[in-house]
């Protein structure tokens, strides 16, 4: 009877000999070539063995999830305990349009909603301040608390979690709180995240969201964190964003490094305010881009968890283990998607989603295949959600916690990514921190250089993009899905409604609230966000609030470096 034999312990010498034998056979089969590198520039060998990784280097790394430094996962149970939340971005047109989509998603079982406002809102303007042709094409127009009430009609805001794409001064959150107050929902029940609260990432990478000059914006972020820590126990006021930087061209290692450096900056800003790290750190969350470089992304997230845990414990002095947890939302990367042969993007998104899941994210957004063109069609959005369900239910990706842990490749790659990330962080520290580095244009230059280098690799053919520089087919541009424009009559009606709203509310109450807001901005000790909430409740519009703060704190002009 054949019995499985016990594995014999292999000595390092014996293993080295085996690997040498393999190398000879490999070299005979494969001609010598340039080293293969991943996006962060780390060399990828054809084979990894126990010689490449013999165990965790950090003495405290227990190698189990839920324990410092959390390399294998921030919770002991990970997805067996609770799946990642599916949080798909939604936003188009007028508040009623959003409401329709939101209710559909809730009916399908979603427990979390995301709110994407119109570009005009991102820029800090009311709908009547920008060319009408540009309204509502990429998100929903919401200019005041009553609009928010309409957008959330019939939505149990006290029970579900809402992610608001809402940069400083966080007017959307203020409108949400006004709605809650009117409905009698206690603020302590309002759950969600202020996505796009990271003004540093907006300053260096995605200028879409940058509204107010950096020093003022940073102050408002800390004000909001303080407010949330006190009044909104279920709200994550800070989402530190790596997505913008990676989409702008930063390599995965750079994106993680710059994001952690931003996290350091915000933590230090809070500490300088005298806030307790065990109070604010548990509500810091992260948001990352997930590229198609599967293993690199997994290693990036594992390294990120480890580094952040150490920073929280050692650099910021947090004592509660809950403060050390690196919680993050991931979104599959739109820049990997192509306009050519768009259905190919479904395959790309699948690999990206896998990278995020295997990397241990807490919530995931999968792009639709037509994301390149505009806001996704309903069918494409369904496929994006189905992709997540398939990975979870059919591929059983969630049954094992950190399944790539222990892989010699992934572990040594995690270590290599960690080293590179720490080098970048050191460089930023040397420049005086992320705030200083951003104002000097250093981070922008690094990102721009990486973007240019990537483009050169694509142009030279070194990096193949299927359908773009290889495997091309003739395509009829007319067959591409066209942009979804919002209904012009509905938008006109909205604008008329906005005018009526402005005429009907109490001009005195609004003026007084805006004066209070300006006074808070001029002071050094009053909470600006609290004043924003008061202004929202008094009926001030988004554009009025932003204009007041821009006047006091300066118009946000990002520093662009080519």
């Amino acid at each position: 009877m054949n019995a499985p034999h016990e594995p014999a312990a292999v000595t390092a010498d014996e293993l080295a000999q085996r690997v040498a034998r393999w190398r000879q056979a490999y070299d005979a089969a494969v001609p010598a070539a340039e080293p293969v590198r991943n996006r962060s520039g780390i060399e990828l060998k054809p084979l990894y063995t126990a010689l490449d990784w013999a165990g965790p280097s950090h003495p405290e790394d227990s190698g189990v999830p839920g324990e410092f430094p959390f390399t294998r996962g921030i919770y002991p149970s990970m997805y067996r305990g609770r799946s990642w939340s599916q949080r798909q971005l939604v936003g188009l047109g007028v508040p009623e349009d959003y409401n329709e989509r939101a209710r559909e998603l809730l009916a399908l079982g979603a427990s979390a909603l995301s709110f994407l406002p119109c570009n005009s809102v991102f820029r800090g303007y009311d709908a009547d301040e920008v060319p009408a042709a540009l309204l509502g094409t990429c998100g929903t127009v919401v200019n005041h608390a009553r609009d928010m009430e309409r957008a959330m009609a019939g939505v149990p805001i006290g029970d579900i979690s809402t992610a608001l794409n809402d940069p400083a001064p966080f007017t959307l959150l203020a409108f949400q709180l006004a709605v809650a107050r009117r409905r009698g929902v206690p603020w302590s029940q309002i759950a969600g995240t202020s996505n796009q609260s990271d003004c540093l990432s907006h300053f260096v990478a995605n200028h879409m969201f940058f509204r107010i000059a950096l020093p003022g914006a940073r102050r408002i972020v800390v004000d909001q964190i303080a407010f949330a820590n006190e009044h909104l126990p279920r709200w994550n006021p800070l989402s530190i964003v790596g997505q913008h930087m990676q989409q702008a061209g930063a390599t995965p290692a750079q994106a993680m490094a710059f994001t952690l450096a931003s996290g350091i900056q915000y933590a230090e800003d809070c500490l300088a305010r005298g806030m307790d790290p065990d109070r604010f750190l548990p509500r810091f969350t992260f948001f990352f881009d997930i590229s198609i470089s599967l293993f690199e992304e997994v290693a990036k997230f594992r390294a990120g968890r480890r580094i952040w845990a150490r920073l929280c414990r050692e650099r910021f002095g947090a004592k509660d283990p809950r403060s050390w947890r690196f919680k993050f939302h991931g979104q599959t990367s739109g820049v990997d998607l192509t306009r050519q042969q768009p259905l190919n993007n479904i395959a790309r998104v699948t690999v990206q989603a896998m990278a995020g899941i295997l990397g241990g994210l807490q919530s995931l957004h999968t792009d639709s295949y037509d994301e390149v063109f505009s806001t996704p069609t309903a069918e494409a959005a369904r496929i994006a959600v189905a992709t997540q369900n398939i990975l979870r239910e059919e591929a059983q990706l969630t049954e094992i916690i950190d399944p790539l842990g222990g892989s010699w490749y992934v572990e040594s790659l995690t270590d290599a990514m960690e080293r590179q990330i720490l080098e970048h962080i050191d460089r930023i520290d040397a420049a005086g921190g992320m705030g200083a580095a951003a104002q000097q244009g250093l981070v922008q230059r690094w990102i721009g250089d990486s973007a240019l280098a990537f483009q050169k690799r694509v142009d030279s053919g070194q990096q193949t993009i299927v359908g773009v520089n290889a495997y091309r087919v003739d395509e009829d541009p007319a067959s591409y899905p066209s942009l979804a424009y919002p209904d012009a009559t509905r938008m006109q009606a909205y604008l008329a409604d906005l005018a009526a709203y402005k005429a009907q509310r109490s001009a005195a109450a609004v003026a007084q609230a805006l004066d209070g807001l300006a006074a808070a901005a001029q002071s050094t000790d009053r909470n600006i966000f609290a004043a924003v909430v008061s202004a929202a409740e008094a009926g001030a519009t988004h554009g009025e609030i932003c204009a007041t703060l821009r006047r006091e704190l300066g118009f946000g002009q990002p520093l662009t470096v080519v």
Binding site: N119, S120, R123, G249, F373, P477, S482, L483, Y485
Partner: protein, 138 residues
């Protein structure tokens, strides 16, 4: 006579703020020996016109995502009104096929789509700048 290198403005009008593509284009044009003025996003049409006038620009490159291309015809009209009809305009980004025809009809010289060949962009800009220099009146 020593001809100056092409002077190109790379800019974004409208509300979108993504500028990775335009940054890479600006760097590429610079590396090709051109003088590039690279602006932050959300430039008002009037500002772009003033910029083109003061710098005596040869070509304006508009980077457009979302629906920003819808206001490019406004820019073309403003340029004509300011006496700058000879300044060439190109657009790069996400532009649906139907809208591309409208842009060309409005006077845009060329529309580039994602995945466009960068050599093509550089050659086009050079050619357009040369056309303007030779056709320009004092």
């Amino acid at each position: 006579m020593h001809e100056r290198p092409p002077k190109v403005i790379v800019t974004k009008i409208g509300l979108d703020g993504h500028d990775r593509g335009s940054r890479v284009v600006a760097a590429t044009l610079r590396d090709a020996g051109m003088e590039v003025i690279y602006t932050p996003p959300w430039q008002a049409v009037a500002s772009v016109v003033k910029l083109a006038m003061e710098e005596d620009a040869d070509v304006i490159g508009i980077s457009s995502l979302a629906t920003d291309h819808l206001i490019v015809p406004d820019l073309m009209a403003a340029l004509r009104e300011a006496g700058l009809a000879d300044v060439r305009v190109i657009v790069g980004g996400i532009v649906p096929a139907a809208d591309e025809a409208a842009l060309l009809a409005a006077g845009v010289a060329r529309v580039f789509h994602p995945g466009a060949d960068f050599d093509d962009i550089v050659d086009t800009v050079r050619r357009l700048a040369r056309e303007r220099a030779h056709g320009a009146t004092a």
